[in-house]
Symmetry: C2
Subunit: 506 residues, 2 copies
């Protein structure tokens, strides 16, 4: 490296450090707002979040940043940089270009629109009145089309531009066959389950489970699977989430329901799955833009893996069932581990995505994927959404929501302008099954490790293959390096068919 490049690289890294310091501070301000802040402090808090987010945006889009990027992204210069700096340059350039291509006043209008749209969406959902939300959604869809023009498109499918925001490199060409597989096999499986006479008894899951005891048991399980409480903490919030300040401070939140054992514990494991990804990112990536999960789909693969492939598996509960019965002796009296395992895996077609079981969940996502693809390619009209939603619910899940509140109005994503996000939930499941398949082959005695509650070798594998890299490797690179193939839904369907055939004795 020449002295001049070295000087620029050092200055750039220092600039990026400042920029990411704002991100960390903003994450703390958000976390505190969601979990700790008193009611009367909310308004001023929102204002300072707005102010600091504005400062962060200025840094990301400044003339100074532009000059760094012009200088450092010259091919020969890029080549001369160390690996971390090179990837940071590329990541910053991608963000910079994306931000710069939208005219500032249009972006500002979009921010105001989505801010208002979220309020209107809340009202529409409350009043079960899609027509209130419809004009806002129409404008948001129009903005997406406009943004696609600014950002450019691969000429194959407009929706690809949006998919790339959340899952770099993902396209409709890849997703269509994935959802075709999921659709075909899941719909059949759900139908077979509906006809099975061997339904699990779930009555004991809705007994009374004191919150403090659920909290203690959840912490016990999280410690055992390897969430590091010295590098994180668990608090309560309205909606569970995971937030990262730095790899040494990755926090999760949960909410407990006294009469529902099936929600909080698995939500905790899910969030801990996200958190363990970020806790294990290479510390050298701290204060770069790479110190983050590489995509929403890969992130979701980690939460789903721990929640479903591990947390809802029979070997896992064979190991922990004695602890569970010790924690809740009255509630699980006379319940066998098999009874419990079947109960926590009950399949019930339902209206709400966030409450769906492991199997039907992907059908909820598929509906959204098909609708988004149609809206962006202008083959579906916003006005027709309630009708289309209900038709697809009927076709795939066999149930029709009685209200739009329980249907097309249930999710916040569209009001915030997040199109292209939903598919990553199913991609998470698909990736998780692919990774599990490889782990079974690569990790000695994989099944015994789960059955013994010995997760250290599994965590080491995940860290080695996925976690450590942060954004240094793209999702495609990770999947290819680990599995030797592309995204493939067959592993997920094999896993689901095997699991549910046993549970429902099909």
């Amino acid at each position: 490296m020449t002295t001049s490049i070295e000087t620029s690289a050092t200055a750039f890294r220092s600039y990026v450090k400042k920029m990411t310091s704002y991100n960390q501070a903003l994450a703390v301000l958000h976390w505190d707002k969601a979990t700790q802040a008193p009611r009367k402090g909310m308004e001023a808090r929102s204002e300072i979040i707005g102010t600091l987010a504005g400062e962060q945006f200025k840094l990301a889009t400044s003339k100074e940043m532009e000059q760094f990027l012009v200088e450092l992204s010259e091919p020969a210069t890029l080549e001369a940089l160390d690996e971390i700096t090179r990837h940071t340059v590329l990541e910053c350039k991608k963000e910079f270009d994306r931000n710069k291509r939208i005219p500032a006043e249009r972006y500002q209008e979009f921010v105001v629109l989505t801010s208002n749209a979220e309020t209107v969406w809340e009202e529409a959902r409350e009043k079960n009145d899609f027509s209130l939300f419809q004009p806002y959604l129409q404008k948001i869809v129009n903005f997406q089309l406009e943004f696609i023009e600014y950002w450019g498109n691969d000429g194959k499918n407009k929706y690809n531009t949006l998919l790339d925001l959340y899952e770099p490199g993902m396209t409709v060409d890849q997703l269509d066959p994935i959802f075709a597989t999921l659709r075909e096999k899941t719909v059949k499986l759900v139908a077979a389950i509906a006809e099975s006479p061997n339904k699990p008894d779930t009555s004991f899951l809705t007994k009374n489970f004191p919150i403090s005891e659920q909290d203690a048991f959840s912490r016990f399980i999280l410690e055992r699977i390897g969430y590091d409480f010295n590098a994180g903490r668990m608090d309560r919030s309205v909606h569970p989430f995971c937030t990262t300040f730095n790899p040494g401070d990755v926090r999760i939140t949960t909410r407990f329901s006294e009469n529902d054992f099936n929600s909080a514990l698995f939500s905790c494991i899910h969030e801990a799955g996200h958190a363990m990804y970020e806790q294990n990112i290479n510390p050298e990536l701290l204060f770069t833009t790479l110190c983050d999960g590489t995509s929403m789909g890969i992130h979701e693969s980690q939460s789903r893996y721990w929640e479903n492939m591990v947390g809802r598996s029979l070997p896992f509960w064979k190991h922990f069932f004695a602890d569970l019965q010790k924690a809740f002796p009255a509630q699980f009296e006379g319940v066998s581990v098999e009874d419990f395992y079947r109960a926590i895996n009950e399949v019930t077609p339902s209206y709400i995505r966030t409450e769906a079981d492991e199997l039907t969940y992907n059908l909820h996502i598929m509906i959204r994927y098909e609708i988004e693809k149609g809206l962006i390619n202008q083959t579906i009209e916003v006005a027709d959404l309630p009708k289309i939603w209900n038709e697809k619910m009927k076709e795939y899940l066999g149930v029709v929501p009685p209200t739009d509140t329980l249907g097309v109005l249930q999710d916040v994503h569209w009001s915030g302008g997040s199109f292209g996000y939903f598919p990553t939930y199913s991609l998470g499941n698909v990736y998780a099954a692919q990774f599990t398949h490889v782990m079974e082959q690569e990790i000695n005695g994989y099944n015994e490790l789960v059955a013994n509650g010995d997760f250290a070798p599994i965590r080491a594998w995940l860290k080695d293959k996925i976690h450590q890299y942060g954004k240094m490797k793209s999702p495609r690179e990770l999947v290819s390096a680990i599995t030797g193939e592309g995204t493939n839904a067959t592993y997920l369907m094999n896993y689901l068919e095997k699991k549910y055939s046993e549970i429902y004795k099909l």
Copy 2:
């Protein structure tokens, strides 16, 4: 106001809003670090605090700020500004001038010095070895003398320049007679108490008080005195403190000791006294530099008022004693309210300032005041501090600390370069007694209100006379407007003599 001034004033207010947003964010980051953050996240947290504090400092000392101040502090312009903007300009100018007068490289050296000095002080305290700390303290004192040169001095006493940092307008000329009064009367009173045969029984205060029950009872008392939990919260930290994000979010911390009832509750009341000051600042001052207590002394008057004048008074406990006995029936069985009142007001000359009782506390402060004055006026040598400390302890308190750890090394202040801060603790007591004297005259049935636990009229008075103004009025203006006189220690001594004569039946 002309359009040009109006435009500048608006731009200035917006600039100050941004600057104070950083302060709020930094306060959240510090609070989180002290109360919530996991161990492994501390290092990165300290770095982002450093980065954002640097950004805030840049804003406070920028060319842009200088231009605002040059333009807006023209006498005619200043005159034309609204009151809040005018005071904000003056406050920013004071800070700006103070920061600008120190050469940047000297300030940087001072920051490094104090950062190292605090670590060395910790080590010296741990090893009971003043000689380790001595060279650092010497350099810090030298820096104080250098800073006084930069900042300027009134020509009367060099120490006045430092006093003004914490208590604007305070001087040695005012403080000397105050401490003379405190010295003369307190030393006599402490001696009389030592000879009194009527010592309180304090044995019940060190029974076992489960922490969760102390926590619940403290929250009950704080709610009753009027700390607004919808505009704040209480957490645990190693050292209790109060921190303000905005008037709608003023948080306090405490620490509980299972075998000492006398510490946590009164510490909670103390911090709540600070917090109620900030919760009641005029919300229009939000996002200006005036949204803060006007001085350390006035701030301390509010914490001491609630802690001592109210919280350690007999009428207060006559009202709450039934609640106390209900909360801790076994611990206070057979204890009368008078027994309890006498016990929580026990006077014992001791080594450690932070553990001192209401009466001897001012003697601890006086020792520090006399030493600081001597160091800054170069009549005392750093090398002689252990000897001088012990001589003064002997003279005023009648006890000599067996080690420097329990003596001259006990406080963190000097290692951080805080000279001029200590006197504000006693000023708080002095002001509190002056204000109480006025309240007794101005608030109808003042004593009955305390005895009935009806604090709303008292809070309204404090808000009206003190809290609402934030930094809009100087401490001198406040004291003069409320009391019609200057700082006067007679009221404090009258209060203390009356209180302790009764308790010890002198």
